[in-house]
């Protein structure tokens, strides 16, 4: 089996988010980017598959920012190849539809028969990447998956539904999977190994051209503060009085 794991950078919401002047996009130069955490789950799931059933594992990421460390870390964790997609315009960020458009050819060239990627990302404005990829490739597809096992020419994917219902699905290869969670948490890659990999291995690069995007953002803004919680201070009497007051105000 050949597995491709598709990763991407997303805005790090721990850091401040800066809007561009026209208010239509994030100022990519001023915000911090990090690996999409669901993609890290997909990578861990792929590594587990590789360990349990043997597979060649290629990690792919478009250079929508500094992806080197993310790719080297994936190699340090056990991926066999790391492929960086470079090209004009990628640095400004791309839509998932565009990303999928680029990836269809790349995945064909890699010869992958299974593609794993995160179930979602915090900047999915136009639907999830896994869905776009499945549509583009025309492969069998499952998403919100929380466990994958190899079974000959197919994959068994575990999917959890609301109400505690679990389904095991058989997907004939080739297949695209959107990973919600890996059975094991993403492993830790020691810094020394990442540094070692940086010295001894290099990333493969491939020139790509992104197809035109079809969606236009009209405006983007931080959520407005609505309501909020009030900490009621004071002794028991004061607290009770304040609670009574609030209840009365709300007409409850």
């Amino acid at each position: 089996m050949r597995i491709a794991v598709v990763m991407k950078l997303v805005p790090d919401v721990v850091e401040e988010l800066v809007l561009s002047e026209d208010g239509k996009r994030l100022e990519r130069g001023d915000i911090a980017l990090k690996a999409n955490e669901f993609d890290e789950q997909a990578l861990e799931q792929a590594l587990l598959l590789k360990e349990s059933s043997g597979a060649e594992l290629t990690v792919i990421a478009a250079e929508t920012g500094d992806v080197d460390e993310m790719l080297y870390t994936a190699l340090a964790k056990g991926a066999d190849r790391a492929l960086k997609l470079v090209g004009d315009g990628l640095q400004d960020g791309i839509w998932n539809a565009q990303y999928a458009g680029i990836l269809v050819d790349v995945i064909a060239d890699v010869g992958a028969d299974a593609v794993l990627t995160g179930v979602q990302a915090n900047d999915d404005l136009d639907g999830q990447l896994a869905t776009w990829l499945a549509a583009g490739l025309g492969w069998s597809f499952a998403t919100v998956v929380s466990g994958v096992e190899a079974a000959g020419e197919s994959l068994i994917a575990k999917k959890e539904f609301a109400g505690g219902l679990t389904a095991n699905l058989r997907l004939p290869l080739p297949a695209v999977l959107g990973i919600q969670a890996s059975p094991e948490p993403p492993r830790y890659a020691p810094i020394s190994r990442v540094r070692q990999i940086m010295k001894t291995q290099s990333l493969e690069e491939r020139e790509v051209t992104a197809p035109a995007g079809s969606i236009t953002v009209l405006s983007l803004r931080p959520p407005e503060k609505t309501g909020g919680a009030e900490m009621i201070e004071g002794d028991v009497q004061a607290k009770a009085a304040r609670i009574a007051e609030v209840l009365a105000q709300q007409g409850i």
């Binding site: 721990v14 850091e15 401040e16 948490p185 492993r187 830790y188 890659a189 020691p190 020394s192």
Partner: protein
Amino acid sequence: MPTGTDLPVAQRAVFEGFQHSWLVPLFYVLATVALIIFFYGVYRRVGRYRAGKRATLVRGWPRRIARSLMEVLTSRRIGRRDRYTGVAHAFIFWAFGFLFLGTTTIFLDHDVLGLVAPSLEFWKGAFFLGFSVVMDVSAALFIIGLVMMAVRRAFFSTFRLSYRRVDGKQQDRSAYEREDWWFLGQLLLIGVTGLLLEAFRLIHDHPWFQGYSPVGLAVAKGFEALGMTAPSAGEAHFVTWWVHAFLALTFIAYIPYAKSVHMLASWANAAARDEKAAVVLPTQETGAQTIPLTPIAANLTWKQLLAVDACTKCGRCHEVCPARTSGAPLSPRDLVLDLREFLGGRRGTAAAAQGTLSAAATALRDDGSPLISADVLWSCTTCRACIEVCPVGIEHVPLIVGMRQTLVEEGEMDQNLAQALMNLGRKGNSFGQSERARAKWAEQAGVPIKDARTEHCEYLWFVGDFASYDPRAQRVSQSVARVLHHLGVDFGILFESERNAGNDARRIGEEGLFESLAEKNMKALSQASFDRIFTTDPHSYNTLKNEYPAYGLECEVLHYTQLLQRLAAEGKMQIVAPQDITVTYHDPCYLGRYNRVFDAPRELIRLTGATLLEMPRNREESFCCGAGGGRIFTGDSLYGEKPAESRIREAAGLHGIESFVVACPKDMAMYTDAAKTAGYEQQIAVEDVIFLIERALGIGAKTPEEVNA
């Protein structure tokens, strides 16, 4: 009794009463065999150590040997916290020493001088008389010491002598107990037969100088009262002589093969002991190593192999270890014993375990588990209490960290810990918060804080993660800033250029992360302009002071309590509001045991006017809060009871304690929680020493808002 100068010269024949001339050579043959066995055993041991890796020879051998000699001669490290055992060991040690020297003297006199220059023989006359007294008293003390040890072993239910494992593994350790008793028993028999020999000889000869053997004479009188006569004493003497000789020779022969090897290995280990063990962890150049969980000799340094042999199973480390005390599967004693058994058999006599390094790295024992389990290793708080108490100078923490490196390499760790490491790698702080938020606390300090990157300052304040991001510890930082400002200290911080100092990362076993953090900090420090550094966090303090010099840091590093102590000594601290409260103080491991800063915080507390009561475990014996060595990230896993709660209870046991004073931001977090969960929140306030000082200086009454206004 004859008196004065007409006395014959006091002396006695060596092989007195030997009727058969062939018995003397027989003794020499046996003695030679014993020595051969002894030296072969030593040779085997040394061979095992040589199978280990080279380690840079620690300098200062004359001083080391003198130090360990003093420690051994005074039984100081044994007597610490345990007078009884210290006294008993001193009796046995000194008496054994004298008796051994005595025997050697006779050998030199009789077998060397007697052959080459009989006129020089000196074992006679006044020397002989003094000798008799010393030997006689030694024999008595020897027996007393051994009986004290036996009584302790048999009747005091001393926890540390229990060999029960704490990790749930089943192991029959009765052989250890048999060995202990055999060791005691054989020594006791040697002592008793020696004394009997003396008594029988006195009954037989009744020389005029018998009074110079007071104990022997008393025993002789006893036997005579029971009806022993000179001829029967002569016969008994002959038999006892051989029993005594046989016991003594077998003892010598088996010294390197059993518990008695500690007479050699422990002393050697004490001499090789590194006073900075765990304080400065070894780097690649100084013999650092990733140690597999099932190591072979070649994975360890010769020093570590020696240490593993030197353990006397005294159990002191087992007793004080906060992990063990809290129900975790780690016992530092069992860690050492497991390594010893695996590397050299239970008595350490087997040949070096063979195998290739790469095979060893993944080797498992027969039952498919590694020798030292991940849970055992992750239980350690690196508090250094084990190293502190070990009477023979075994260094457990570097061993544990070496094996943790293997766990990190294999990614075998608690998820929270992995998250903390990833945060440290990405953001330079374990909280995973924005680098830019690092100095947010400063906005609420109410006093201006210089940017050391752009302005020169006398003191660079290395704030540290907890003091920067943890809300409870932020109050400490703000208070420190106000106090220093009040005292007119010229200080600044690195703002978002500061990174976690890496002390914990290194002790977690993530050496690469430590290096990367140290490099980043060194870069920031080299771009700032300052004369000295002080820190809030004892953990940062430890690594900056002791480990950063290897990365080029050259200036003085202080803890803030030391800085304040200096200011107090210069008379700069004007106490306007003496604090009339009773407090106790908790020594943080990395400030106290690691860096011997015990007095600065105490002096400051007294300066504020507070009354300081000491907890039973104080200073070197302080009990870890449980946060060190990365354990603060792993949560309560592996621990039954929280060490911090046990500590709060210890404090609550003191009469009238109002405040539990700390000098470490992590302690602030740990003990605030522990006081709550242990139910002492109403009774005992947890506060940093800086809060006391701020109040005493009369600047603490204001809230940050008031100061800002």
